[in-house]
C-alpha cells in the first residue's frame, strides 16, 4: 500500500509522520533538532521501524517547518509547505469541526482561524518569543523540573500568581522575586502559565475572535498547566488533538498525498546517508547582492536558495565554478 511521509522540521523538535492512503496514521517519531536539522531527520528515521512500513511504499514526501526548504531539498520532497497551512490542513481533515487553532511551538506561536476547513485569518508572533515553548523549558530547567512535571505541578495550584508575561526577562525577575518572598512553587508556575497564555492572547488576537471549538496543538499543548491557563482565560474547554505534536507533519503528509509526485527520488536510505553541505555566498552580479545559499549532497549541487532573479535556481551549472 502507498504511504505518504510528512516531516515538520521545527526550531526545537523535528517530527515525522507516516500516513497510509486511507488517511490512517501508521507511524510517528520525534527528535530534538539541536541546531542540526539533517541529523535530527536521521534520528527520526531511525525510529521508522521496518516492520511498520513493510507493507507500505513511501510514494511521496511533504516537508514543513522552519527548515522546510533545506530538508525539502535534501530529500527531494514532493511538497514544501509553510507550517500554518500544514497545521490547518491536518486540522481540517482530522478535526473538521475546529474553528480556532492555538499552536505554540518551540520558538513561535500561531493563531489560525478557520471556516469550513479553510484558513480565514491567522497571526504569528512577530518580534518576540516570550510566549513560546523555549521560555517554558528554560524556566523548568531553572527550577530543576522536567517540562511534564512543570505542567502537573501547575495543576496543583489554587491560584496563579501575577507574573509579568510581556517579556521573558521581566517574567524571570518576577518569578525569582516571588520565589524569594516564599510563595508556593506551584502558584508561581501556574502564574507563569497564565502570563504566557495572556501574552499569547494579547499578541495574537488583536481583535480576532476565538470561536469555539478551539484546538490547542504544538509541543506546548502537552503542558497541562498551559491548557488550564488557556481554558481559564478563554472560558472555553480546549480540544487537544490526539496527534497534537505531529499536526504539522501530518499536514505535510496530507499535502504530499494530494500532490502529483513528479520527483524522481533516490532510495531514502541512500539519501539519508549522503553528506550534506551548505556554502553561503554573496552574488555581486547586480545591486541586489543576493545572499545565496548553495546546497550540495555528496559533492553534487542539489539546490540553491536566495537568488532573487532565479538565475542559479534555473541553471545550477552556473555555480560549478564557485564550489
Amino acid at each position: 500500500m502507498r504511504a505518504f511521509l510528512g516531516i515538520d522540521v521545527g526550531s526545537v523538535r523535528t517530527k515525522l509522520a507516516l500516513v497510509e492512503e486511507g488517511g490512517e496514521v501508521i507511524h510517528r517519531s520525534c527528535s530534538r533538532t539541536l541546531s542540526d536539522p539533517i541529523q535530527a531527520l536521521r534520528r527520526c528515521f531511525k525510529g521508522l521501524l521496518p516492520d511498520k512500513i513493510r507493507n507500505h511504499e513511501i510514494s511521496r514526501i511533504g516537508v514543513t517547518g522552519s527548515a522546510r526548504e533545506l530538508v525539502g531539498m535534501f530529500l527531494d520532497a514532493d511538497v514544501v509547505k509553510n507550517e500554518i497551512s500544514a497545521h490547518a490542513r491536518a486540522v481540517s481533515l482530522l478535526h473538521p469541526e475546529i474553528r480556532t487553532v492555538i499552536e505554540i511551538g518551540g520558538q513561535d506561536s500561531k493563531l489560525i482561524l478557520m471556516e469550513d476547513g479553510q484558513v480565514t485569518d491567522f497571526a504569528m508572533n512577530a518580534i518576540c518569543a516570550a510566549g513560546t515553548g523555549s521560555f517554558l523549558e528554560q524556566q523548568a530547567k531553572r527550577l530543576g523540573l522536567s517540562l511534564d512535571s512543570l505542567g502537573s505541578l501547575a495543576l496543583k495550584s489554587r491560584e496563579g500568581l501575577s507574573i509579568a508575561g510581556r517579556c521573558t526577562v521581566f517574567a524571570e525577575s518576577d518569578m525569582v522575586y516571588k520565589q524569594q518572598m516564599g510563595y508556593a512553587r506551584e502558584d508561581i508556575i501556574y502564574g507563569l502559565c497564565l502570563a504566557l497564555a495572556r501574552n499569547y492572547l494579547n499578541t495574537m488576537s488583536q481583535g480576532k475572535d476565538f470561536l469555539p471549538p478551539i484546538a490547542f496543538q504544538g509541543g506546548v499543548a502537552a503542558n497541562l498547566g498551559m491548557r488550564r491557563a488557556f481554558e481559564e482565560l478563554l472560558g472555553e474547554s480546549l480540544t487537544v488533538p490526539r496527534y497534537f505534536l505531529h499536526m504539522g507533519a501530518l499536514g505535510a503528509a496530507f499535502f504530499a498525498s494530494g500532490s502529483k509526485g513528479s520527483q524522481k527520488r533516490a532510495p531514502l536510505t541512500e539519501l539519508l546517508s549522503a553528506r550534506f553541505k551548505l556554502r553561503p555566498w554573496v552574488c555581486e552580479d547586480c545591486d541586489q547582492r543576493c545572499r545565496i545559499m548553495i546546497y550540495s549532497r555528496s559533492g553534487t549541487i542539489i539546490g540553491v536558495k536566495g537568488d532573487l532573479c532565479g538565475k542559479y535556481t534555473s541553471d545550477l551549472r552556473l555555480l560549478k565554478t564557485i564550489l
Partner: protein
C-alpha cells in the same frame, strides 16, 4: 564638497545624475546590505527605526568607502519625527565622526527651489536653461523608474522563465541611470516597456492583485522589505506599491501631475471615512494617513489583499494599524501587517506571505 545621498531603491543614483550634471561631486553609497545594517545599528540610537539606521549606515559607508563628506537627502524634513528626521542622522553621525556633517535637504513639496538653494549654498553657478534641462531630465528619470517598476511588478508573476523580469528590470534601470540626455532616457524607457510587453507570459484566468502599503522606505527599498515584491511574484501575485518614486519628486508632465493630484484627493476621501478630515489631509506623521487612504481604496480599486509593511518603532504606521484592521473587516479584504526589522532570517517572513497568499487565493476562488 563630495555629496552623497542615502539609498532608497536607486534614488541616490538619480540624485547623483542631478548633482553631477550641475557640476558637483557626488558619490552614491554602496547598495544596502548587512554591512550597512551593521553600521546603522552601531551608530544609530535607541528608538531609531530601521530606515533611520539604514540611512546612517549608508551615509557612513559613503563617507568611509567612497570619500563623500556631505549629504543631500529628500523628504528629511517631512512630518516624520516632526521634521527632524534628517537632524537625528546629522547628530548621530557628527557624534561618531567628531566633526560637522553638512546636510542639504530637498524639500519634497518644493524640491526645485530647494535644489536651487542647495546649489547656491554650494557656490555652484549654472545657467537657468541648463538647470531646467537637467531638472526636467531628472524628474523624467524618476517617473521612468516608477513606471518600469510598475511594469515589472505587474508581469513578474507570469514570466515563463524564472528571474527573466528581474533581470530585464535590473538591466534597463542600470541603462536608465547612465543616460546623459533626455532622448536617451526616453529611448531606454520605451525599449524597457516594449520588452515587458512583448514577452509571452503565462497569465492565469484569475489574477491576484495585492497592494503593498506602509512606510515609504519599507515599501520601496527591497533590502528593507525582504524583497517582498519578488517573493509575492514567485507566489503568483501582482504587486502594486502604494508609494513609489513619484512620491519623492513632482511629476513634470501635466498628465502626471493631474494623476497625482487626483490620487491625493482619492486618498483624502477614503482616509476621511476612518479618520477626521484634518488628519486625512494633513497627516499625523510619516505616511500613516496615506497608508489608511490607500488601504481604504484597495477594495474599490480591485485589489484582493493588502500587505502592510513597517518597522518596529514606526509610530505613524503603528497608529494606522487598527484602522487597517477595521478597513479589512468592513471591506472584507484580507490584510497582512508585517514588521520588517533588521532580521536576516527570512523563514518566518516567507511563512506569513505563503499563508496569506493561500488564504487570499482561496477567498477569491470561493467568491467566484
Amino acid at each position: 564638497m563630495v555629496l552623497t545621498s542615502p539609498n532608497m531603491d536607486r534614488i541616490s543614483h538619480v540624485y547623483a545624475f542631478l548633482f553631477r550634471s550641475m557640476g558637483c561631486l557626488f558619490r552614491p553609497p554602496p547598495p544596502v546590505d548587512e554591512k550597512t545594517r551593521y553600521w546603522g545599528r552601531k551608530l544609530g540610537r535607541e528608538g531609531f527605526c530601521q530606515p533611520l539606521n539604514n540611512c546612517i549606515g549608508d551615509i557612513y559607508r559613503a563617507f568611509n568607502e567612497k570619500g563623500a563628506n556631505a549629504v543631500v537627502m529628500t523628504a528629511g524634513d517631512d512630518p516624520c519625527r516632526y521634521g527632524f528626521y534628517w537632524y537625528n542622522q546629522k547628530t548621530a553621525l557628527e557624534h561618531v565622526l567628531g566633526r560637522e556633517v553638512p546636510f542639504f535637504i530637498i524639500n519634497h513639496i518644493r524640491p526645485k527651489s530647494s535644489v536651487e538653494q542647495i546649489l547656491r549654498d554650494l557656490g555652484v553657478s549654472v545657467s537657468k536653461k541648463h538647470f531646467d534641462e537637467v531638472w526636467l531630465h531628472t524628474m523624467e528619470k524618476i517617473f521612468f523608474l516608477a513606471e518600469m517598476n510598475n511594469w515589472a511588478n505587474r508581469t513578474r508573476p507570469y514570466e515563463k522563465k524564472r528571474g527573466e523580469t528581474s533581470r530585464l528590470y535590473s538591466r534597463f534601470v542600470d541603462r536608465l541611470l547612465k543616460t546623459q540626455t533626455l532622448e536617451d532616457s526616453e529611448e531606454v524607457f520605451k525599449r524597457a516597456i516594449d520588452s515587458f510587453q512583448l514577452r509571452s507570459l503565462d497569465v492565469p484566468d484569475s489574477r491576484l492583485r495585492i497592494l503593498l502599503t506602509g512606510a515609504i522606505y519599507e515599501v520601496m527599498e527591497p533590502e528593507a522589505n525582504h524583497n517582498i515584491e519578488d517573493r509575492l511574484a514567485l507566489l503568483g501575485v501582482e504587486v502594486e506599491r502604494s508609494l513609489t518614486h513619484h512620491d519623492l519628486a513632482p511629476i513634470i508632465s501635466k498628465e502626471g501631475r493631474d494623476r497625482i493630484a487626483e490620487m491625493e484627493m482619492i486618498l483624502t476621501q477614503f482616509a476621511s471615512r476612518y479618520i477626521v478630515r484634518t488628519l486625512a489631509e494633513e497627516g499625523f506623521g510619516g505616511y500613516g494617513s496615506t497608508t489608511i487612504g490607500h488601504a481604504a481604496r484597495a477594495r474599490s480599486f480591485g485589489f484582493d489583499g493588502i500587505v502592510h509593511v513597517h518597522s518596529f518603532s514606526c509610530m505613524p504606521e503603528i497608529i494606522a494599524r487598527p484602522y487597517l484592521k477595521e478597513i479589512s473587516r468592513r471591506d472584507k479584504i484580507p490584510l497582512l501587517s508585517l514588521v520588517v526589522e533588521e532580521l536576516t532570517s527570512d523563514e518566518h517572513f516567507q511563512s506569513r506571505l505563503e499563508t496569506f497568499v493561500d488564504m487570499v487565493r482561496e477567498k477569491k476562488r470561493r467568491s467566484v
